[in-house]
């Protein structure tokens, strides 16, 4: 109970200094940002190897299911390094905590899992260590082009890609066969399939979409849109560019026609609907097979994978989901933290990740015949990785997320979500999303054009 005794002592101090500290907190809160220390931490590739040899202790925040196995394997290989693994929360919960410890100036982990969509939000204000200084840019050829782009913000490299989620079309073959629907190759065929299916069985829908920011941005990405552009300080938002409009022209037909189910993703109802044929297909990331195998047991043998439908029939897809591990500026041992990141996503750490059903971002694994030609029992013996690794090579280039993407996602439901609720033009929702984002961005000190 050592920690409790500590607590009591601090409590006494706290009681005495409470009033004074309230003032200190009010005045000092703004000055403790990380930007000041940006020039102090420099290193090199040798520094990483030296840190690994010297050993030490680091803390790692992650919610990925393979994290514990990875940490155990790492400490076995490097017994003089102690990694404190903490599951501080999933996604947004963890980001809330990260933002707070960054604001407070202490209490953060050395290494944290961050999704690609959230990376600019932490990288651009200077809260993360630029791994270029450790020479990590030499690993470029080891990763797919799209994930390598995703771990960059500005010119900085803020992590090594862990997984990737090139999108593909997962569909319930049993349902498609029953209603005589061919696997759609274009989005027009997909809309036609949606109509045919819903007309034949009013309880069945081609897919579900009750308004999901991550899905929308991925779909605009696939359509060739680049609604968010930023160099860190200046931001341009245009949710009415050609790509965005191309997507709404297709998706409006589904939403306004009541052809998509409004079951929200990741609920028990959703898992159920994937199993019983209520939701007949999912355009989603390549990590989905692992989820279906473990959580949609009723769908075993019924589902199959096809390339994403496109607008012109030419292969094109986008990334959906995926995350990296970044080193925080707060870290007292950034070189060791960087070494851990390198091990996680470049060395032995990839193996436990693959074993837990993750979809890799490393080109070597994506080309490995053992991986590519593996037949999946769940998908009726289909060699699904042939489709998925193919998708990894056709991700549309040039996408970037907002430096306040987490905020953007949090207000998505109040803006675009309304179009879904009223089954009205998605462009109206996208415009009001854009207006709200421009206002917020300017308030936050960005120069936003939109």
């Amino acid at each position: 109970m050592k920690s409790h005794r500590w607590g009591v002592r601090r409590l006494v101090v706290a009681g005495a200094a409470l009033t004074a500290l309230a003032v200190v907190a009010a005045c000092g809160g703004g000055s403790k940002t990380d930007s000041a220390s940006s020039s102090s931490s420099t290193g090199s590739a040798d520094a990483v190897d030296a840190a690994l040899k010297a050993g030490g202790e680091i803390t790692y925040w992650s919610w990925t299911p393979s994290a514990q196995a990875q940490v155990t394997a790492f400490m076995k290989q490097y017994p003089n390094v102690k990694v404190n693994y903490v599951n501080a929360g999933t996604g947004n919960d963890q980001y809330t905590k990260l933002q707070n410890v960054i604001k407070a100036g202490s209490g953060g982990p050395d290494v944290a899992q961050i999704e690609y969509q959230a990376l600019p939000q932490f990288a651009l204000p200077g809260s993360l260590v630029d791994l270029n200084q450790y020479g990590f840019s030499q690993y470029e050829s080891a990763y797919t082009a799209s994930t390598w782009a995703s771990v960059h913000a500005g010119n900085g490299l803020y992590g090594l890609p862990q997984d990737s989620g090139p999108m593909a079309l997962f569909y319930n073959k049993e349902v498609f066969t029953k209603y005589g629907i061919a696997v759609p190759k274009t989005w027009d065929e997909y809309v036609a399939a949606a109509k045919k299916l819903h007309a034949a069985n009013p309880k069945a829908y081609i897919t579900n979409d009750s308004g999901d920011a991550g899905f929308t941005t991925s779909m605009i990405w696939q359509a060739g849109g680049q609604p968010f552009k930023t160099d860190g300080k200046n931001v341009t938002i245009n949710l009415q560019d050609d790509g965005s409009k191309k997507w709404t022209a297709t998706w409006n037909q589904l939403v306004q026609g009541g052809l998509v189910s409004n079951i929200p993703g990741w609920t028990d109802e959703w898992f159920k609907a994937l199993g019983d044929g209520t939701i007949a297909s999912l355009p989603t990331g390549a990590w989905m097979p692992g989820v279906m195998e473990s959580s949609v047991k009723a769908g075993a043998g019924k589902w199959a994978v096809a390339p994403m439908p496109t607008y012109d029939g030419q292969p094109a897809t986008a990334e959906n989901g995926g995350s990296t591990e970044s080193v925080l500026k707060q870290s007292k041992n950034p070189a060791l933290a960087a070494a851990f990141v390198r091990w996680l996503n470049h060395d032995e750490g990839v193996k436990p990740f693959l074993a837990s059903g993750g979809f890799p971002a490393t080109t070597a694994d994506l080309k490995d015949p053992a991986f590519v030609d593996k037949a999946s029992a769940y998908f009726g013996g289909q060699k699904i990785n042939q489709v998925l690794t193919g998708a990894a090579g056709t991700v549309v280039k040039g996408w970037s997320y907002l430096p306040f993407e987490l905020y953007a996602n949090s207000i998505y439901g109040d803006t675009v979500g309304k179009s879904y609720q009223t089954k009205s033009d998605l462009n109206t929702g996208l415009k009001s999303w854009q207006d709200a984002l421009v206002t917020y961005g300017n308030q936050q000190g960005f120069q936003v054009n939109g």
Partner: protein, 280 residues
């Protein structure tokens, strides 16, 4: 006297009863199902198997039995936090109601203001302050803010004003009892219903507190049940999702049991409180 029945009102009340009972029934029924059954059988009837007891065992043992740790944490936060809040609110409310001193009106104004500010809005500033004190990621980060209950203080203030007659205090003073003794031997008893009400409010709000522990704590070992169960529930989301809804549901059921017991034990005090002073 014959009571006249209104068909409309009865109908409305039946609907309201269903509205409150159905979620509880769903929770009870769902706690008897395995994860697979949850996803494949109707919500308001039993599944193919009866997994209630294995669900309870799994909930208590999943992740090295961290659920029990969370339960213990919650009990600690409620006993020390809500108990302390009630104690402080009672003493302060009584003092403010029964003694005239300078600055009393100012306290009242501050208090009314404090009631209006939701705890969630204060969570981030509180985090920054506690971070400077080095208290984040400790039990104190939850207990100290829980000790402050402006609403409880207001309640005890208002209750003390009426529940303790000034004549009684004068009588005690004339008999030679000190103020502290009067408080403990005379006033406290009269205040019991108010104290229980305050305690129940403080208990429920501490038991349900989510946002404060969410941002204060990053060690799963210190989580209360609310944050822990949400983490289990979030496990079903995104890349590498591992849904364990059956454990989340069973955990939720186990979570409300202590609250129900507390209400059953304390309600007789509460009822007497509600009727106090109605007949003179």
């Amino acid at each position: 006297m014959r009571v006249k029945r209104s068909k409309v009102l009865t109908g409305v009340m039946v609907l309201y009863l269903l509205y409150t009972i159905v979620p509880l029934a769903w929770l009870l029924l769902s706690a008897t199902k395995t994860q697979d059954d949850l996803l494949s059988t109707p919500g308001l009837w039993f599944g193919k198997s009866f997994a209630f007891f294995s669900n309870i065992t799994d909930t208590l043992t999943y992740n090295d039995g961290i659920f029990l740790r969370w339960l213990g944490n919650t009990v600690l936060y409620v006993v020390v936090g809500a108990g302390g809040a009630t104690l402080l609110a009672t003493a302060a409310g009584y003092g403010l109601a029964k003694y005239k001193f300078a600055g009393r009106r100012a306290v009242f104004a501050v208090l009314l203001g404090a009631v209006a500010v939701p705890g969630t809005a204060l969570a981030v500033p509180t985090f920054l302050m506690f971070s400077n004190l080095g208290l984040t990621n400790t039990v104190w980060a939850i207990i100290i803010p829980s000790l402050v209950s402006p609403f409880g203080l207001y309640l005890m203030w208002v209750y003390s004003t009426d529940a303790v007659p000034p004549e009684l205090l004068e009588a005690a003073r004339i008999d030679g009892a000190g103020e502290v003794r009067t408080f403990f031997t005379v006033s406290l008893r009269l205040l019991a219903p108010g104290i229980v009400t305050t305690l129940l409010f403080a208990m429920v709000s501490t038991w349900n507190n989510y946002f404060l522990p969410l941002i204060m704590l990053s060690k799963p070992n210190l989580y209360p049940l609310t944050v822990g169960l949400t983490q289990w529930s979030n496990q079903a989301t995104g890349v590498g999702a591992r849904p364990i809804y059956n454990l989340v549901i069973t955990g939720s059921l186990l979570t409300i049991v202590p609250l129900v017991i507390a209400f059953l034990l304390l309600q007789r005090f509460w009822q007497s409180g509600l009727s106090a002073g109605s007949v003179k």
